[in-house]
Amino acid sequence: MPPILPDFSSTVRLKYVKLGYQTLVNHFFYLLLIPLLLAFTVEILRTGPQELLNLYLDLAVVLSSSFLITSVATVYFMSKPRTVYLVDYACYKPPVTCRVPFSTFMEHSRLILKDNPKSVEFQMRILERSGLGEETCLPPAIHYIPPKPTMESARGEAELVIFSAVDSLFERTGLKPRDIDILIVNCSLFSPTPSLSAMVVNKYKLRSNVKSFNLSGMGCSAGMISIDLARDLLQVHPNSNAVVVSTEIITPNYYQGKERAMLLPNCLFRMGGAAILLSNRRSHRSRAKYRLVHVVRTHKGGDDKAYRCVYEEEDREGKVGINLSKDLMAIAGEALKSNITTIGPLVLPASEQLLFLMTLIGRKIFNPKWKPYIPDFKQAFEHFCIHAGGRAVIDELQKNLQLSAEHVEASRMTLHRFGNTSSSSLWYELSYIEAKGRMRRGDRVWQIAFGSGFKCNSAVWKCNRTIKSPTDCPWADCIDRYPVHIPEVVKL
């Protein structure tokens, strides 16, 4: 029996129907304008030139209409939120001496956990399926057997990562330290006194009236929280520059015990950091890379299970580590749904929203068995940056949002090359897309981050100018090797 071929003609027909529907709904108002304009033109043509001139010369009419237009315009421009531009950003590239191949990681693990072969087995299985590559990096203190996490080495890592990223940012943007008005540093698990933002102020001798903030404990989604904070501050302070530094300092948080659930972060978290320059100055408008369109924050902490799913605690031996619960993926899915529900109306074209609304009404009123309509976010965005929290997260989101392999390529490749660098991973992913030369003017980017709490935060950017592949980004020397095929299980 020959296989039944798909009905190509009907698929093509369906495609055109969809296209027609989308054009109709998305450009509804414009389409409505056409008959209006026609009617107006006809009316003008009917009214003779003499009558038009009379109308024009009627001072009252002229003055009142221009006054109306001016006042409407003024109100509009005054109440419009200040546009926030992302001028440029820089990601930290660790030195090769920090490189951790799988074999080295496993060997060190075996030597450190010599009395716990089961835990070593567990780590090996995680690493095989993790989606990480052979070039991810850990800070120097963690390379020792056993690791030597001291406060000094943690500060050392912080200085290395943050100062390198900020130096790189200064170089790329030509920014002078004294021009920084707002400084926000986010690092979840390392919070010394004086803070990391104070460390940056000290190193670069920033102005004494710089508005500095240090966000700690907010997990992997803190990067988006920092962007949100910067945006809010830039509404209040005109003509300002804001530098956001997102990083995660691994040194003090490397779990030294043997509980399996707590060993998982050791396998995935790697060294990384990013520095971003945001501005509301009009002078930056032409050279800025992106414009910030939306930031949507969703917090599921009100639910106890969500609150406890990423929890830092002591194990039975008193060693501190981060416990990841088994419901993590389910909770992430819930958080994503909440976030989508808020962001959907802001970004989706009218056609998708209408379909969603109709399906929703249909389910409520007619038949609850109808499948819920998942809006097609591919119509709202050209690029997706999904936090490279782990292979499972990317797989889950790819499934939920019905994304193609190319859409999640930036996330998967970042996970492979740099590992889970926590809040800075979104910037490595954006850098990947730029390095591949895929970023065009007008492209919309959606950055989604998940973090402890449980939070799902996302930001929407619009590309301001077509970006040529940068020569000094962390992908510069290896972009030609990507994308790589990442097998399900890597044989160690």
Partner: protein, 445 residues
């Protein structure tokens, strides 16, 4: 580590290739390499204050990561082939073990202590060593230890599994490191993948079918995955230095009234062979010695045991009763025409596809001549090392003597000093010292 060792504050980590070795790259070993798997070369390079200037851990590690890009075939881990169980190396970038330590003595003080004959003061303080196994998966073949001394000098100790290569490849490894330290060399941009190394070509076999058993090889009981030579005695190491003048005197005494002029190595070998023969009197007298020295081959591959010549000489007469000078002369003749047994060893091992375990050093009383090894070629801050010494770990029961050139001690007439390290059963060491003092090779305390 001995509890009263002057070396402390040891920190262990790893160094490996900075560049990822992509793909399933493996290194196969020939029969000769497999025969050497129970042996390890251990060497220490002592750098003075000027040479050690600016050698922070970061700088050293950076240069080593670059070095390992070239030597990725020493940074993998051993595996056994499915079926035959023949060892090979999977080049998985695991790296060499790297240790950092401190010592509260100056270089001179440590060296004096080492040569003082104190048994607890050994090279192990400056060269951390563990044999390969019992888990091949997690055993590094190379250990590197950097020890900082009170005077500002430092030492670099290396433990190098002989299966990887001979002393000449080991010294090249260290000398190349000097190039990276100075920033002379650089690997350039990231390459896609390393050149895969497949089967090493076997050395050409002998023309006729029936090959004799090599005299320099001894089969031992299977050791499994723990590559340690099983000794019936506890082996001890003892070293002494011969200045150029002392060395010249030894040769002069031997060749007094004789026409033959043996080389310094031959003189020392004769003197020590005779002494050991006297100690092991009767049926234990070593009638045969193995000589390992540099081959005449001009090739210098990065790895492999191709640059040594291994041969054995057998004496029909009583060595203990022979005259030292005559013995030296006889040795000189025999060494001059000594057949290189590398091919025979290769074939013997290949007969059962490398399933058996062997020793070469210590199969017979072995004398190793390191002349011709560029031991002082390491350059750091434009300076060479103050002192270099090498010994062999995993020597068989018959013992071994390693004769290392000491170019820093020369007498202006073309004679160089030597550092002699003997690895012998514990109870023979004191007796050997007595004998050597009697014949004037070793100075009175």
């Amino acid at each position: 580590m001995v509890s009263d060792s002057p070396v402390y504050n040891v920190k262990i980590s790893s160094v490996g290739p900075g560049r990822a070795t992509v793909g399933e790259v493996v290194q196969h070993y020939g029969g000769l390499d497999l025969a050497m798997k129970l042996h390890y070369l251990r060497g220490v390079y002592f750098l003075g204050k000027a040479a050690a200037e600016g050698m922070t851990t970061t700088h050293i590690k950076e240069s080593m990561f670059l070095l390992c890009n070239d030597y990725y075939m020493t940074c993998g881990r051993f595996r056994r082939s499915v079926g035959s169980g023949r060892p090979y190396m999977k080049c998985n970038d695991c790296g060499a073990r790297f240790l950092e330590a401190q010592c509260d003595l100056t270089l001179e003080e440590w060296l004096d202590g080492y040569f003082s004959g104190n048994a607890s003061w050994n090279i192990g303080q400056l060269v951390y060593h563990l044999p390969v196994g019992p888990e091949l998966f997690f055993s590094p073949p190379v250990y590197l230890q950097v020890t900082k001394f009170k005077c500002g000098g430092m030492s670099l100790g290396m433990s190098w599994a002989h299966i990887l290569g001979d002393i000449y490849t080991a010294t090249d490894f260290i000398n190349n490191w000097g190039g990276y330290l100075a920033g002379h060399k650089s690997n350039g941009p990231f390459h896609q993948q390393a050149q895969p190394i497949l089967n090493r070509p076997l050395l050409p076999t002998s023309p006729n079918g029936q090959t004799p058993e090599p005299l320099s090889l001894k089969r031992v009981d299977p050791v499994g995955d723990h590559w340690v030579t099983a000794n019936n005695f506890k082996m001890e190491t003892f070293s002494f230095r011969l200045t150029a003048t002392q060395a010249a005197q030894i040769t002069a005494r031997q060749t007094h009234n004789k026409s033959k002029k043996p080389s310094l190595f031959e003189s020392i070998t004769a003197a020590i062979w005779k002494s050991i023969a006297k100690i092991r009197e009767g049926i234990n007298e070593p009638k045969r010695v193995t000589i390992i020295r540099k081959t005449n081959s001009s090739q210098d591959p990065m790895t492999g045991n191709n640059r040594i010549a291994i041969g054995s000489v057998s004496a029909e007469f009583s060595v203990a009763d022979s005259d030292s000078g005559d013995l030296a002369g006889w040795l000189s003749d025999r060494i001059g025409e000594l057949a290189d047994e590398k091919n025979l060893i290769d074939e013997a091992v290949e007969r059962d596809d490398g399933a058996s375990d062997y020793v070469v050093y210590g199969a017979n009383l072995t004398f190793v001549d390191l002349a011709g090894a560029d031991l002082y070629g390491l350059e750091s801050n434009g300076q060479g090392p103050e002192f270099v010494c090498y010994e062999v770990q995993g020597v068989g029961d018959e013992g071994a003597v390693v004769v290392v050139p000491w170019p820093k001690s020369s007498d202006g007439e073309g004679n160089e000093g030597r550092v002699v390290t003997a690895i012998l059963p514990e109870e023979e060491v004191e007796k050997l010292k007595l004998e050597l003092r009697k014949i004037g090779v070793l100075e009175e305390d």
